[in-house]
Structures are given as C-alpha cells and as structure tokens.
Subunit: 730 residues, 2 copies
Amino acid sequence: MNDIFWFVPITSIIALMFALYFFKQMMKTSEGNDRMIAIASHVRKGAMAYLKQQYKVVGIFFVIMTAVFSVMAYVLNLQNPWVPFAFLTGGFFSGLAGFFGMKTATYASARTTNAAISSLNGALRIAFRSGAVMGLVVVGLGLLDISIWFVALNYFYPVELGDGHNLVIITTTMLTFGMGASAQALFARVGGGIYTKAADVGGDLVGKVEAGIPEDDPRNPATIADNVGDNVGDVAGMGADLYESYCGSILATSALGAAAFLGETDMQLKAVIAPMLIAAMGIILSIIGIFFVKTKEGATQKDLLHSLSRGINISSILIIIFSLAILLVLDISNPYGIWGSIVVGLVTGIIIGKATEYYTSATYKPTQIIAESTGTGPATVIISGLGTGMISTAIPVIAVVVGIVLAFLFASGFDFTQMGLGLYGIGIAAVGMLSTLGITLATDAYGPIADNAGGNAEMSGLGTEVRKRTDALDSLGNTTAATGKGFAIGSAALTALALLASYIEELKIGLLRIGEDVLVFASGLKIDTASATLVDFMNYYEVNLMNPKVLIGMFIGSMMSFLFCGLTMNAVGRAAGKMVDEVRRQFRAIPGIMEGKSEPDYARCVEISTIGAQREMLIPASLAILVPIAVGLLFGVPAVIGLMVGALVAGFVLAVFMANSGGAWDNAKKYIEEGHLGGKGSRAHKAAIIGDTVGDPFKDTSGPSLNILIKLMSMVSIVMAGLTVAFSVL
Amino acid sequence: MNDIFWFVPITSIIALMFALYFFKQMMKTSEGNDRMIAIASHVRKGAMAYLKQQYKVVGIFFVIMTAVFSVMAYVLNLQNPWVPFAFLTGGFFSGLAGFFGMKTATYASARTTNAAISSLNGALRIAFRSGAVMGLVVVGLGLLDISIWFVALNYFYPVELGDGHNLVIITTTMLTFGMGASAQALFARVGGGIYTKAADVGGDLVGKVEAGIPEDDPRNPATIADNVGDNVGDVAGMGADLYESYCGSILATSALGAAAFLGETDMQLKAVIAPMLIAAMGIILSIIGIFFVKTKEGATQKDLLHSLSRGINISSILIIIFSLAILLVLDISNPYGIWGSIVVGLVTGIIIGKATEYYTSATYKPTQIIAESTGTGPATVIISGLGTGMISTAIPVIAVVVGIVLAFLFASGFDFTQMGLGLYGIGIAAVGMLSTLGITLATDAYGPIADNAGGNAEMSGLGTEVRKRTDALDSLGNTTAATGKGFAIGSAALTALALLASYIEELKIGLLRIGEDVLVFASGLKIDTASATLVDFMNYYEVNLMNPKVLIGMFIGSMMSFLFCGLTMNAVGRAAGKMVDEVRRQFRAIPGIMEGKSEPDYARCVEISTIGAQREMLIPASLAILVPIAVGLLFGVPAVIGLMVGALVAGFVLAVFMANSGGAWDNAKKYIEEGHLGGKGSRAHKAAIIGDTVGDPFKDTSGPSLNILIKLMSMVSIVMAGLTVAFSVL
C-alpha cells in the first residue's frame, strides 16, 4: 500500500474530532429560559421518537436484505463473502451520521435563539457550527468506513494475486457498501420528506388558512411536528442523501480507476486512492473554510450570504490548488488532465447552484413574474410556477452535459476512444464536486437550525428584535437550502453516471464468479472476460439504442421517476389530510386552546406524522428496490442499464424542475410578504400561499426523493449484477 | 409492382369520396335561425382568419426549409433531388386536410344545434359524420400522397437497379415527406394549443371568476375566440398531429421493410407495401364502422358512449380479421407473426385508451379522490391532481413496453438477434394501432363540434331541452377527447420508435451519397456500408450507453421535453394575460355590455389569440428544429440517436402525465358541478375550477405538443442525416 493513503483515515479522524469540538462548544452555551428549553425539548423528543421509529423499520429491512445477500454470497456463490458485512456497515455509519447530526441540530436551535437575544454573529456562529457537525460527521464517518474496508480488504486480497485483479475485487466489493448507505438514505430522505411536509402542509392548511393564526404559533398543535420535520427532512434526510453521494462517488471512481489502469499495477493503485485523497484534502479545507464564516452586528441579508459564501469560496479555491498538488505528489499519469476533470466537477456544481439561485430567488425576474401572476389568481400562479420550473431545467442540464464531455475529454487525453479513462474522469469530477461537502453540507444543515430557532423565538414570545435576527438567519437558510438542493441533485447525477460505469465492473466479477471466463460473440469472436473492455461488454450485451430490451428498460426507468414522485406527492396529500383532521379535532376538543390557555397535544401530531411517513413510504420504497431486480431477472443486462439511464436522464430533469418550481413559489410568497403587490393578507398573498403549499412537496419531498431513486436503483442493480447474469430469463 | 398495391390509391379515393358525401349531407341540413347562423359565422370567420394567418407563417417557413433542402440536394449533394418536393407535398396535404376538417366542423356546429332542437340522434349523426369528414380526409389524403410518390419513384428508380436497393432509396426518400407533415403539425398543434387555451383560460378568468357569468355567455368578448379555439386546437391541431403519425408510421415501416428484406427482392416489395395495404383496409373498415354510429331518443350518457364504441369496436374487430387475410393474400413470409404484431399494436392502443379513461373519468376512484381533495382547498386539488397524473403513467408505459417486446418477438420469430425483422414488427404495430384512424379521429373531431353546438345553443338562448341534448353530446366528447389524447400519444411513441430505426437507413443512404462505401471499425474490421446491418451501425458509431455522446444526447432530449412544455405553459399564461386585459377593457369601455344591450368586440379577442399563438410558438418551434441539427453537427450520430431516445422516453411519460392530470381536473370539476360535494358555486367548486384552469394548458397545449416534439425531432434528424455524417465536428 502507498504510504500517502494513510492521509485518508487520519483526516477522517480529524473531521470527527472537529465535529466533537464544535458540538462541545455549542453545548457549553445557554439554552435560554424555561419556555425555550421546554420547546426545544419537545422538538428533540419528537425528532428522536421519529428516528427511533425509522431505525426500527430500517432495522427490519436490513435484517431481510442481509439475509438475501448472505444467501447470494454463501449459498448461491453469486457474490463475495464480504458483501453482507459491507452492506451493514454502509447502513450503520450513515445512520450514525444522521443520529449525531440531528441530535446536534435539536440541541442547537434554542441555543441559537438565546444567542440571538444578544448578538447576530453569536447566533450565526452557533447555528452554522452546529450545522458543520453534520457536515463533518458525514464526511468523517464516510471516509473512515472506506478506509477501514480498504485496509481490511487489502489484507485479504493482497497485491500478489497479480495483474492488479486484487484491486478490481477490492473496489467492486467496497462499492456494495454504498447499497447500505443507499437504503438508509431511502428511508431518511423519503420518509423524512413525507414527514416534514405532512406536518407543514397539514398544519398550515388549518392554522394559517382556516384559523388565521401565524406560522409557528404555539396554539397550532402541528407546530412542534413541523419543527421536528425540519430536522427530520432537511438535516437527517439531506445528510443521508449526500452521505450516499459522497461515498458512492468515491467508491465508484475507485472501481473505475482499478478497471481503467488494469495491468499497470503501480498506476492502478494510485488511480484507486486518488479520489480518497482528494476527498481527504477536501475535509481539511472544509474545516478551514468553516472558521471563516462570521459576520458583524447589524449585518444585512447580503452580508450574511457573503459570510457563508466566503467560507465555501475559500474551501473551493483551495481545493483547486491542493488537488493538483496531491495529484503531482501521487505522481499519477496525466495529472493535469485528471485535475481538469476535478475542476470541471466543481465548476458544474457552482453553475447548477447559481442557476438554482437565479430561478428561485425573488431578486431575479423569474420569481418576480410568478409573484406578479398572482394578479389573475392562484391558477396562473401554478401555471407560471410550473412553466418556469420546467424552463429552469435547461441550464443545469447543459452544465451537466458540458461537464460530462469536458471531464471525459480531460481525463482521456481528448480521445473519445479511451472510454475507461474518460469515465474515470467523470467519476473524479463527481468527487471534485463533493470534495468540499464538509462545508457545503454545513450550510444546508444550518438552515433548519435557524428555522427552528425562529420557531422557538415565536413560540417563546421573545421580542421583535430577536425574531428579526432569527428571521434574517432563517431567510439566509432558505437561499442556501435551494442552492443545496441543486447541488444534491447535481452530485447525484454525476454519482449515478459513475455508478453506471462501475456496474460493468460488477458484471465482470459476476461473470467470472459463475465461471463464464470467455465472452463468445454472435460473430464467433472470443474475448477473455477478465480483460474485456467496457466497449466489449457493450457490444457483447448489445447495449445499443436499437435493442428493444434497452429501450424498454429506459421507458420503465423514466416512468419510475414519475411514478415515484406521484406516489410521494399523494403520500404527502394523504398524511397532511390526517394532520388536518387531527388539528381540527384538537381545536374543537381542547377548550381554551385558541386563547392560549391550554396547551395543544403536540405529541399526537408528531405521532401522526411519524406513522404516516413510515406507512406511506412502503410502496415507493419497495418499488425502487424490486423494479431493478425484476427488470434484471426478466430482461437481463441491457434492460438494467437502460433502466438506470432512463431513470437518470428523466429523473434528473424532473428533480430540477420540481425543486426549482417549489423554491420559486416559496420565494414568490415571501416577496409578497415583504410588502410587494399588496403585501401580507392581500388577494395576491392568498394566491401565493396556494403556490407555496403546492411547492412544499415539490421541493422537500418528491424532488429530493428522486436523487435517492436514481442512485438506489443503480446500487440495487450493482449488488444484484451477479443474480442478473446468472438467472435472467430473456 | 405488385397488382394488389392499387388497392391503396383506390381506397384513398374512396375515403375522400365518402368525406365529400358526408360533407354534402351535412350541408343540406338547416343551420337554424338568424342568431344561430350569425354566431356560427363569427366562429367560422375567426377560425378561417386564424388558419389564414397560420398558413402565412407556415408558408414562410416552408419557403425557407425548401431552400435549405434544395441546397442540400442540389449543391451539397447530401440528399436526393426529390426531397424538397416530398417535403412540400407532405406539408401541403396535411394543410389541406386541416382546412377541409375545420371548414366542415365550423359549418356543422350550428346544424348540430338545430338538429338537437328536434332529436338527439339527428344531432349525434350530424356532429359525428362531420367529424368523420376530418377522419376520412386525413387518411385519404395521407394514403393518396403516399401512393402518388410510391408510383412516381418506382418509375424513376425501377427494380432493375438490382438487389432491392431501389426500394431502399424509394422508401427513405418518401420518409422525408413526413418532415413536411411534421412541420405542418408543429404549427397546427402547438399554435392551435396556445390559441385555444389563451382564449379559454383568459375568458374564464375574467368571465367566470371575476364577473360571475357562465361559460359561453354571449356577453363575454372571449366567447367566440374560445369556440374558435376548439376548432383550431382540437380539430385542426389533432388532425395534423395524427396525419403525421399516420403517414410517419406507414413510411417508416416501409423503410424498415425495405431494409429487413434486402436481397429478397420479392419479399422486400411485399414488406414495403404491407403497411400501406393494412392502412387501406383500415379505411374501408372505418367507413363501415362510421355507419354503425347512431343512438335512440332519450339515450343516457352510457348509451351514447356505447354508440360510439360500437362503431370503433366493429372497425377494430374487422381489421383484426381482414389484416390477416391481406397478409395471407400478399403471401408475405411469417404472416401470422406479422399479424401478431398488428394485433399487439391495436391492443396497446386500446389499453392506453382504457387507462386514460380510468384515470380521468369521474366514474372511477382517482378523479373522485381529486374532487374530494377540494375539501382542503385548491392547493390539495393541485397536489393530488399532479400526483395522480404521475401515477397514471405506469399503465401506459407498461402497455407500450409489453407492446414493444411482443411486436418485436412476433415479427422476428421470437429471436432477439433478428433486429431488422423485430423493428419492422414494432413499425407495423404502430400501423395497426393507427389503421382505423378514419373512425377514431372522427370521434375526436366530433368533440369540438358538439362543444361548439352547445356554445351556439347557449349564446342563441335556446331552451333547456336543447341545451341538455347538446350537453350530453359535449360530455361524451370530453370522454372521447381524453381517450383520443391517450391514443395520439401512444401512436406517437410507436411511430417515433419506427422513425428511430429508420434513421439508420437514412444514415446509410447519407454515407453512400458522400462516398463512404466501407465502414472501417476501430478493430480494423471492414464492412460494406450497403450491406451493413443495424447492429453493425450501432457498433460502428458506438451507440451504446457508456458512450458519453449518447448520454449527453439523452440528457438534452429529456430536457427538451420539459423545456418545450415550460415554454408552451408560459406562452399560454402570457397570451391568456393579454386576453384578460382585453376582456376587462371591453367590460369597462363598452357600455351596456353586461346587460346584453350591446355586442362585445369578438373579433378583437380572436385577433389577440391569433397573434399571441403565432408569436409565442416562435421560440419553442425554432428550438425543436434547431436543437437536433446542432446536436448532430456538434456531437454526431450517437448524440442524435441519444437525443431522439431521450426525448421519446421522457417526453412520452411527461405527455401522459400532463394529459391525464388535465383530464382528471376537468372531470373532477364536472363531477362537482353535477351536484357532488356541494355542487356549483360551493367552496369545493371554486377549488376545482382552479384545478381545471391549471389543467387546461396541461391537457390541450403542453401535453399534446410533446407528441409533435418527439416526432418532429426524429424527422429533423432523419432529413439532416446526410448533413450529420458529412459535417459533424466531434
């Protein structure tokens, strides 16, 4: 093993230590008065109750899947013996990250509120560094898990196996640990998404619309559930989503590196550890960036945004410099080309983020036009929000398309026939985009903390000055959340592309495992399976666009994206309906509730959201796992690849559309609330609220769930590759 | 030439003669009193004014494109000399069909109203047979154009060219005439779609919502424009759309037949004319079916639906029988297999239609649930409508997927490696689905006639009994319209698949034309271009799913579907906004308008819709034509094929989603208007109206426009194939 590799586990430990440090710093501050503590405790208990329930369901799922993988590994001999364990650790570490992140967030919100009583900068600092705990735990645990497996598997499959085949086996085995992370993300993101919007939409429909009480009003029984939802969906859900992208992109790129440099033992190892090293360097630079986030008293919204941007920008610029240094120190071949791919990944992420900002921020035309369409009522608000969201897909797609081409060309030395190297370039672009996840995720997780802090201030009846400060932080969080969503889907797309390419490697291992050592083509041509190239596999399986199996796979993949969204949209509708019934019931049944004399039954609403989320995700979750298996068993490899690509190209565009429509409606409403077009309570405002409510499941449930669907279907295909080659019918 | 071929031109003449007969029969009936005649004349003038304006724009477009094709054919020698002419006739005949269809529809509406004064059956008969004029003109002119070209080209490229290459040249040349039909359809469907919804949405927002006057009220200045819109969008637009699918599927299948049976001269000719013969037989059987459509007095809605279904069912059952007879008489090889593919196509169409009915009719659960979601306001109506629409994509996609597999397997003798034969099977399945277009299009075109008849009754102040009869016919039209939309998109998908496969044939011709007679593979393998198979081309161009060019093509294709929808959605929003301003202005400026004492300025509203539609379609139309050319020139063949497939798999699902959401909202509103959940004027009704308004551009503009986008991008790629192989950069 190369000595420089040890940089990876060491930085992962450093990340975890800084997370612990930030957590302890935060815990030292005061949580405020009794009322604030009580509210925070309600939210914390609700969040933990949800997490407990979710982990219970996840636990059952993991037991079943581990049994399935064990049968495949030990009975059918279709997978290597490490897969069930890799799967388990992937899920376990992702769950752990979610647990730590959410715990921190729920401890931080009241403390942020309390700090806001005296200082804006103090509040920003607590909220942001608590968000950074989530960011650092995700990258720290992710890299730690990767390091442990890499060391362990190198021990069992030493280089002496010859020709670098040991690294192929090691990397493809590690890839399956992404399946654990994927499954965990499914439950966290989809379940969390349904939870948070059921509480939000349900609470708003009765509270804001029917009873006319403001958001976060303590008289609304769904308020606590709503605040819990922010943590469940936007902290734990987002974290698990990006944990998966982070690990998935690193692991897939390593697998592509092992394949691309097969036979060049020295260079192969370098290509395998390069993505890990880039990620490790990103951790260090993220931590540096985190320390640059601070603001002055009386900062404007622009100043605040600038503070966050400064941290991210510093990390991004440094990673551009230091990643080249790493590649040069590593002495990898074509270092400048690979470095070009990394930069392409970073820039693609930035462009998607900026495009998201343009289409969803009320400082720009598109959202203002949506706000103006309130003049002709809610129907035109919906039409123009949907239209704008669809149009907004153009720039992100063009960014990804240009990113794919450039990343491929840079890494392949501008040679389209060097497919292995080119795909490695696409993988490492994804790693580049995600390398500074430590700090970008911090800005995401910061959002719900600030949001909850505002809720706490409202419910605790603190002064307007405090509320103004928390509102400023919250509003900042909305901007970062929209950008974060663009980033999450962009990285999911690149990760899915890398997974797609590495699927072929899994296929190869699967074929060798069942003894198919030679690929015999229809033309009579014979190629050794072990040395077959990607193009050989494409030709062997006829994975071309005239093959009806490929076409039907793509139709099904595209349809799955829509079906998954439809199911989650309706799930939110149903769960929100139950919440509406409960809030109405409490308003009727609990005397004095509207006068603020008696406390509503918050816990019941938390329970409804929890149960609703778990029940409603059953069908979409099962579909996401079973459809790739069924397609593989029925129609074989070409259909599976078609499925992955179909889901990717349709799902990516659909996800961007939904996230941006939702974000734009949200900010159009806020724009009116700021006093434009009649301000709060006007006819325009009422129309905008309807747009915002439709946008809630768009941007926080269905849209983000597509990231998971795209990656999960790829992961399922990867772990089931052995099954597909052994048993497919057609 | 085979004698049996002459059956094709003869039936096309028969179709046109029956169209003339139905038209004359209709014209003999009375148009009613002066008021009715005046209103009908307003609508007719508006419709013709629109058509004139549209043909002017189309004319300019055709002049430019003919010049481009002439340069390609005569200067660059990239196309054969017939292409510019084929392009022109395709566009001309499609335009002619639209002109006749709309003329008939606008003459028929008042006559239907007048007949409804005395008899339901009389009204149904006039409306339906006038719709049949459109149906028969479309299939008649389509087959006539095909026949003329086939005879003419056979004269210039006689069989003596040897080896059946003459038929390859003939069929690929004829395919380009589809480009003319495609371009005409673009203007008719997209322009018509924007027109009709600008008038409808704009008129409703001021009339129904603000002024509180009923639909079709003569006091609303936008009423005439709304009625014009029904003709423009649903008669001319739908007709041009299906004209294109009809011709496209026949021509593509012929081209696939010429390719699949290359070298077997006798069988090749049979395979080329088989789709034409099936279509011709379908015409005869459609005419028979048309005569079976009649009903008894006092018929219930169910009876009416049954009357229409009887006509379609009889035609469908007969075509199943007679198509086998034709194949046996033709003595084609594997007649039962090819017959199986035809039946598969028909059944796929029926399943898509039934699924559409299930998800959009208020007699079933999904639409009722949307109606019930009005209880929590417009936001939940929108959420549940979108969710249901997305879920509703599953069955049509599965139907198409199963259809693809079965059509392929039947025609290829259950051999996946027989790709040429299998793709011919998919093509002929599309022909099977469209074979009875004469009668299915009649039921589509019948809808707007009945709708206009109702409008005329309302505006003329006829009694409730008349209005009840026209309402019954109109309501029936809504059901057939929803089914018709499912049918249109289903046939567009299969046609696009056939076009996709025939693209390779165009490529081959293009390569031979620039003198690339031999394909030299990277491996050193050499294959004669003229005898290369589909799979050879796939391997040569590396059109596999790992090729980044293919992937970026697919991303762009998927994005184009969303972008196109977003642009047309916003176009409707803007054009409707202008209509709102104008109606408000007239309400203010024209004294006595609300008391019915003075007539509004209908013509001004017609003009606004006309100008708005033409202006707003400029950008989406240009994109649909320029993007495939740009992708081809930049990234070459693999990216173009990726583009077609990406647009197809994402666009098909998106189109089904939008059409079904829109249809379900429409019927949820009608369900409430029938007295459920509080009935007209209730809170639920108001919420449902908002859903319906959002659904208008969904189901009548953006959704159907996707059919055009999918086919048009394929057609552009086909006619530009020569340019792509000669000049692509990467």
